[in-house]
Amino acid sequence: MFQIVEARRLAPSVNQFKIAAPEIARKRRPGQFVALRINEEGERLPLTIADADPVAGTITLIFQEVGKSTAQLGKFKAGDRLSDLVGPLGIPTHVEKFGTVVCIGGGIGIAPVYPIAKAMREAGNTVLSIIGARTKDLLILEEEMRRVSTFLKVSTDDGTYGYHGFVSDILQDLIDQGTAIDLTVAIGPVPMMRVICNVTRNRNIKTVVSLNPIMVDASGMCGACRVTVGGKTRFVCVDGPEFDGHQVDFAELVKRQRAYLEQEKRALESFKHDGGACRGGKC
């Protein structure tokens, strides 16, 4: 069992847990993820490790409540325990001194981009970060991102904070101003990553994206997470989660992410209807 030592709400329906997992905390590197299972009936849920403290023996996970499992997880408090936690999984981000690295996070995607920005800065890069959210209330990790970035720009879709528009608009501006960019890292909703890749493709700027398809075992055994990259089928869990964004078949990824939409809706409705988490003995 894995104990939640700290539970914080970062934004409406966005939660941050610190979980006691000393072995994972020691071993994990930026870009890697874990798979967790809430209880005996739970599914295996992949989540990127947002941060880790090897001394305290904790890892930080940030997640948005979108389906039944994340809604159930959102009811958990400090002191509660998760049935299973496995990691670190996936190939770590390739970090070296590239020069100027633009780190872009959209929505909940700011959580996985944060450890990468931090590592890129520590490796001596100039880190230009762009983060965005639908609206001001949903923006997370602004202070953390500012701390690890050379500069930080913020956008909101509705203009309630920062630049009124999309993160891709800010990137376009940077490019138009003649900023030399050696690498772009973009993590967020698929439409966002796709637009970013379209922007950078024209300028031949290498762009790394981190993908979050449906997974089951998350260790290369099942192939649920397969995605087409450069015309070849790859498994995100073991070959990724990061790939060259210019090679990713995003249209296929979107369709595959929606494979269980009906069941997910049904599960979430029945969870809310039944009073949800209370039946799990967790509140």
């Binding site: 072995e23 994972i24 071993k27 299972r37 809430i38 009936e41 739970g42 599914e43 295996r44 039944k68 499992s69 049935s83 299973d84 936690l85 496995v86 990691g87 670190p88 999984l89 089951v216 075992d217 260790s219 290369g220 055994m221 099942c222 192939g223 649920a224 397969r226 995605v227 087409t228 089928t233 073991v238 296929e252 369709k255 595959r256 929606r258 494979a259 269980y260 069941q263 997910e264 049904r266 599960a267 029945s270």
Partner: protein
């Protein structure tokens, strides 16, 4: 005296069938198909054994179970004794009684089989083991005094479980590292409940823990620790029994449409994650109405029968050779046929077709004919020109085999692998190219059977014991 010796007397009773669920009923539930022998049936069957002086069945068994003796004990009404006799050589008799291909092993060489039907060794094994699980009390077996040595076992499938049981009894400390959240490997993620109830596997795992084996789930070796780190962290030897867990796809167009599963994914969702109980369990699974399963092995049969139980109207096994070449156990093919699985032999899928939402909606296939034998000795299937046709399906399970997961070899530089990525190990000892590291089961041989993996675990346990004590 004209009496012939009892050994030469022909058996009077026919081979006893196990009572089982009606095909129509069982095709819609996940309960085990056969109920197993009653004590009376078991004794009737046990009485058929000729108690040969030089029993060929023992040689036919990969772990050399003393078959005549355990059968004799059943006849003597000593069912727990029969189970103990089995366990001298086979640590998982309740599992093997269910999933061993006996027709290719012990029963194949049974002397009775020359003229009639062989003794039902597997069914008797299952009976004795089940009796012990149901009635037996835990008896601590003979344990050697602690040696102070520690062994790390990577993977909790049949090879790892067998080896762990052997080594703990020899006095070594044993820790099993399992990547998934539950122990048992293919016995829990792969083989369905209706063929191998999970409670039986759990009982075997519980037994090992009672003997002192430490079970660490959720540990992906190669990620959380490398093999070198295990050796540096106090383990004197490492056994790699990670299985052949990498799914193989056809590499034909359209394979990434939704509704196309690897058998590994389909069975893992259903078995390990219990998706057949969705929404009580959170993991969903597609419920196809017309399902094609590609391949002809046991995994293909398991997938097809699972699809039927999840409510499919039509389930097709699509196999590129003919019925004669099916690699599945005869009993599995028979059960599948009884339940209404439809077979498309000599058929090769060449393309998956999908709709606008990205869901599979059909499969383009080609008819095959059999040509000259290939390197496997089976007649090679050759496409028949102009024979393409479309099969209407809304779900496909690809069950054409598995490969080696590269996770451990890629993080263990001095571990030698062959061209398919399997670990090179001495077939007699399991010794690899790396000192103190042994391997066995599917990660060495490629996909094989539970009992062969157990045999490899047994041999490696002996070799590791020698290595540690030498």
């Amino acid at each position: 005296m004209e009496e012939t010796s009892p050994k030469k007397k022909k058996p009077q009773v026919p081979r006893q069938k196990m009572p089982e669920q009606e095909p129509k009923v069982r095709a819609r539930n996940f309960d085990e198909v056969p109920f197993g022998y009653s004590p009376d049936l078991a004794k009737l069957e046990a009485g058929r054994c000729l108690q040969c002086k030089k029993p060929s069945c023992v040689q036919g068994c990969p772990v050399s179970v003393d078959i005549p003796s355990f059968i004799w004990l059943i006849l003597e009404n000593d069912f727990p004794g029969a189970a103990r006799k089995l366990k001298e050589m086979n640590s998982l008799p309740a599992v093997c009684g269910r999933v061993c291909p006996q027709e290719d092993q012990c029963e194949k060489v049974c002397i009775l089989g020359k003229k009639g039907e062989p003794v039902a060794v597997g069914r008797l094994e299952r009976f004795a083991a089940d009796y012990e699980q149901a009635h037996g009390e835990f008896v601590m077996p003979q344990m050697a005094s602690p040696t102070g040595k520690k062994v790390a076992v990577v993977g909790s499938g049949p090879a790892g479980l067998t080896l762990a049981g052997d080594l703990i009894k020899k006095g070594h400390g044993v820790t099993i590292f399992e990547a998934l959240h539950k122990a048992g490997g293919v016995l829990v993620y792969g083989i369905p409940e209706f063929r191998l109830p999970k409670a039986i596997v759990q009982a075997e795992v519980d037994y090992l823990q009672k003997l002192g084996v430490e079970m660490k789930a959720n540990m992906v070796i190669g990620k959380i620790y490398t093999v070198d780190e295990l050796l540096a962290n106090g383990y004197d030897a490492v056994f790699l029994g990670t299985g052949a867990g990498l799914p193989t796809f056809m590499n034909i167009p359209g394979e990434n449409f939704n509704g196309v599963y690897s058998a590994n994914e389909y069975l893992t969702r259903s078995n390990l994650m219990k998706a057949y109980l969705f929404p009580k369990y959170d993991t969903p699974i597609a419920k196809g109405k017309n399902v094609a399963v590609l391949g002809g092995g046991n995994v293909a049969m398991d997938s097809a029968r699972t699809a039927l139980r999840l409510g499919a109207d039509n389930v097709y096994i699509v196999y590129r050779r003919s019925k004669k070449e099916l690699p599945a156990r005869i009993e599995e093919v028979h059960h599948a046929e009884e339940e209404g699985i439809q077979f498309h032999f000599l058929t090769l899928p060449v393309e998956m077709l999908g709709n606008e939402d990205g869901w599979v909606c059909g499969m383009k296939c080609q008819r095959m004919e059999l040509g000259e034998p290939d390197e496997s000795g089976r007649r090679r299937p050759i496409p028949v020109p102009g024979s393409e046709f479309k099969l209407e399906v809304d779900m496909v399970v690809v069950a054409i085999g598995t490969g080696a997961n590269p996770l451990i070899p890629s993080t263990t530089p001095d571990l030698q692998t062959n061209k398919w990525g399997y670990i090179v190990a001495d077939p007699e000892t399991g010794a690899t190219s790396k000192k103190g590291v042994y391997a066995g089961g599917d990660i060495v041989t490629g996909s094989a059977t539970v009992i062969l993996a157990m045999g490899a675990g047994r041999k490696a346990a002996d070799a590791i014991h020698q290595y540690l004590m030498g």
